[in-house]
Amino acid sequence: MWRQTLFWVIVSCILFYMTIPAIVVVMTSFNPGEILSFPPNGFSLRWYEKALTYPDFRGAFRTGLIVALISSTLALVIGTSFAFLVVRYVFPGKNLLEGILSSPLIIPHFTTGFGFLLLGAHLNLNQTLTIIIMTHVVLVLPFVARAVYVSLLNIDPNFERSAANLGASPFMVLSRITVPLIIPGMAGGWLVASILSLTEFSASLYVTASRTQTLPVAMYNYIREYTDPTVAAVSALLIIATMLILMAANHFLGLRKILAIDSH
């Protein structure tokens, strides 16, 4: 019995360590003063007001949202079709292409970002939305492809054969059978991709300019210049939004299933 208790005490301590930053951020965000203090000496929403009206943050949030939506959707289309090729077809250079497209998982983001900065300069696309989106597509593509790949492996190839047998052309098989069956994987992949794109920092720092900065870059710039808790308010909003999205995802898709954790 005491072993059980000890185990759960340890687990709770570790969880406390994992969550303490979030708790402190939320506490700080409601702090009335400019100087951070613990325990907080009151309650105020002034930093939320400042965060929501600060033009840099507003602009950066809009840019980031546009970039995230476009790049995760592009990654969804490209990643889905690539995963389909990998699972269904054999073609020369398949392994090489797979290796290249999944290498952004290993290559440091700042390297990728720096590369795209130089490429952007070369192509006269310096710090435009185009180059930012290209960078994000490369970064999030492996996540979408992986999610779709797993769902494709899980569908019985006889579904597709059966549809063809009943007279469905390859295009019909794809649109009526394959795609509907992998929709959960596509949705999960797209969701992960858009969150990762929204919060991506290291690569974005290189490829954005103040005009085209995304939210994490704007927050970074703010932290370097000011010490007031405005960023705490933004962070608190982001943490809460993430929590809510994950709870919804857990409810509708099942996080354990998306993450493939399940006991036997």
Partner: protein, 284 residues
């Protein structure tokens, strides 16, 4: 009628992305071989001078630092993640499971900046941790966490834990609980069951988790930048310094090439060690 009707339309976009990505990497390689013209963003002719500069102690130290910090982070991440992963897989209470998964996964999706900023609030001289410790009376002077390696590792470990937990939980969920029951049935105490049965059976997960976190930490940037504050220099920070303060793009590119090479080299090295380890544990 082609047997692979979608080959071309599906392949073209993927190849396009791959080509763009390779072009970006090629740009780095190209710049790393160029001469730096101070005060100008244009670059000169081809040269190998940039690579000669690497041997300066600062950069050498940055490489070593990166390696040591990554190793330490991977190690502590593993130690702290294992109990959580175990609890996540084995608890039978639904709400505990949901709580565990939400709390341990959320940090993965909040992004580098939010997490680093939060740790600045916790670790700062007037931050949460010092205030608490002073109030309780454990310390009489604020402890310096900021701008130290320890501070950087404390923050990095927390970022790395979600990924490690996912990998470990997957590994643990794949062990058949019959093994544990059999061991207990044969008289093994719970702790012995864990060390002799559960941990060896999850060795592949432990190894791959360690490698993934090691690689992931090598590419950390915001945390050493903000919490290290220039005092804890990793390769990523050195590159940023060269690129954005000195505007020496060729040398920043050279450092990037070094970062890339050391990332792949240490991954290969770890895989090699891992294979050895795995073969050894497989015998037991």
């Amino acid at each position: 009628m082609s047997k692979r009707p979608f080959l071309i339309p599906f392949l073209v976009p993927a190849i396009l992305v791959a080509v763009i990505f390779l072009a970006a990497l090629a740009e780095i390689l190209q710049y790393s071989l160029r001469e730096f013209i101070p005060g100008s963003l244009d670059v000169g002719g081809f040269t190998l001078d940039n690579f000669a500069r690497i041997y300066r102690p600062v950069y050498f130290k940055a490489v070593i630092n990166t390696f040591v910090l990554s190793l330490a982070t991977a190690f502590f991440t593993l130690i702290l993640s294992y109990p959580i992963a175990f609890a996540l897989v084995r608890t039978k209470v639904e709400w505990v499971r949901t709580l565990l998964i939400l709390l341990s996964i959320t940090p993965l999706f909040t992004g580098e900046i939010v997490r680093t900023y939060a740790w600045m609030l916790v670790l700062g001289t007037n931050g949460f941790l010092n205030t608490m410790l002073l109030d309780i009376g454990v310390i009489s002077e604020p402890v310096t966490f900021m701008y130290t390696r320890a501070g950087v590792v404390i923050a990095l470990v927390q970022f790395a834990m979600p990924v490690m937990i996912i990998i470990l939980a997957t590994a643990i969920s794949h062990i058949n609980t019959d093994y544990e029951k059999a061991a207990a049935n044969l008289g093994a105490r719970p702790w012995t069951v864990i060390t002799r049965v559960v941990i060896p059976l999850t060795m592949p997960g432990i190894i791959s988790g360690f490698i993934v976190i090691f690689a992931w930490t090598m590419s950390a940037f915001a945390t050493p930048q903000l919490i290290g504050g220039g005092k804890v220099l990793m390769i990523s920070n050195a590159i940023y310094l060269q690129g954005f303060s000195a505007l020496n793009f060729p040398f920043a590119a050279t450092l990037s090439v070094i970062a890339l090479i050391s990332a792949f080299a240490s991954l290969a090295l770890m895989k090699l060690i891992a294979n050895r380890l795995e073969r050894q544990t497989a015998i037991h």
